[in-house]
Symmetry: C2
Subunit: 253 residues, 2 copies
């Protein structure tokens, strides 16, 4: 088998007028090998939505880091939210895992929005009905497995992306756009994320009507030095300042 | 105040002959706003070192996601390791936070290896004595604060990086190299990470004698669309396969 690498590119923007997106994205290294990406979208907007998506994502990554299997994590996070918010708060939850031990890509989805896989054989849409977590008892996730094979792209997002252009009665036409993606050329997933996000922002005249997040995973032939892993993050510095920093001196003690 | 962004670049390689580094790096979004990066290096090498650094990093990110302050996290993680491994296991632990609420950079360090800050005023080395966690009771971290100011770079790493070139009696000369970094030009931190990692690999003839990880944070004038956050990850696909995947069918249920 040729040596492969995974590359993941993610972009997130908040709804126009908000400094911070209500979507939360967290990444962890799986204790058995591989990586998981958790994308949570809390109902509503602003700080309360952000706090809700933080709570959901926090619970999910804590369980994943303990080695819990993805399906059990989604169920436990639902049960937690349903129990402690008494069925009053909803959130969508996607878990994308590249499992090095099982040699599989796993997508665990509690989200009405579909996700897509692009391979040299074409585009596949995963749109089996799936409910958000938090509202009804005993909600289950949709779990999909894909092989870890070269030139596989997995595209997932929060529903805000599908709402881009709504104000002018247009839409992103995401399936058509993705169907035209030349998987076999092995382009960087960053290119795909940038072009989708740019189109979405244009459709909303640079004023997104909802938080939008997009995650693209690509499995590609290895291009880097052996064993080398990389991570890059960029984010605007914003003032959240909603709590006072503690008074007690803690520095260089 | 000019609009600023944070950019973080990270690279990790395992010791030659290992498929996976014993160092674990995790990133979380802080619930009060901002990001934290946790870098743990477990004593020894191979799977047991990796498991140890996973345990330490897992505990740290779970506490940080609950909103615990960084100094309390380092203490609690030490106490946990010291209690449950009965003073027999050591790990180094660095927490680098960009706290949007307090508008500060915080570095919390339980690591004999120093860290560096580069600003237009020059290089500053933070090398106050600091012990790894796990071996003695009531170990405390060294905590350093830096302002969130443009053209500030923070460079931290695991001790493997300082050992590059040991076999041929050379060393990386990291302080000299960093002192020459032109902070005010605002170069991408990826450039700094790549050049340091490439020099380290050359000194070890492409066969690192230890796991090496380097993290560079830069605070720079904003260059991206308003509100846009980005994340990119790449990693070779390896076979860890040390446990059997569960038998029970869990797919599309």
């Amino acid at each position: 088998m040729a040596e492969l690498e995974m590359r993941v590119a993610i972009a997130k923007v908040p709804r126009a007028g908000e400094v911070e997106s209500g979507d939360t994205l967290e990444m962890i290294e799986r204790p058995g090998g591989g990586f998981s990406f958790v994308l949570a979208d809390g109902q509503g907007s602003g700080r309360s939505a952000k706090t809700l998506s933080h709570l959901v994502a926090t619970r999910a990554i804590a369980l994943l880091k303990d080695g819990a299997r993805d399906g059990a994590v989604a169920r436990a996070v639902h049960d937690y939210l349903y129990t402690y918010r008494m069925g009053q708060a909803a959130a969508t939850l996607n878990i994308l895992s590249v499992d090095f031990a099982a040699h599989k890509i796993l997508v665990t989805r509690n989200n009405p929005a579909p996700f897509f896989a692009i391979t040299p054989q074409g585009l596949r849409s995963f749109n089996a009905p799936s409910a958000p977590i938090g509202l009804q008892p005993l909600i289950r996730p949709q779990i999909s497995e894909l092989p870890v094979a070269a030139y596989t792209y997995v595209v997932l997002f929060t529903d805000g992306l599908l709402r881009a252009g709504e104000r002018r009665g247009e839409d992103l036409g995401l399936p058509n756009y993705l169907a035209a993606w030349p998987a076999r050329e092995g382009r960087d997933p960053q290119t795909l994320v940038d072009s989708v996000m740019q189109r979405a922002l244009e459709l909303d005249d640079g004023q997104p009507s909802d938080d939008m997040s997009i995650v693209v995973l690509a499995i590609l032939p290895r291009s880097d030095a052996p064993g080398l892993r990389r991570l890059m993050v960029s984010a605007p510095i914003i003032a959240t300042g909603h709590y006072e920093p503690p008074d007690e001196p803690e520095i260089e003690e």
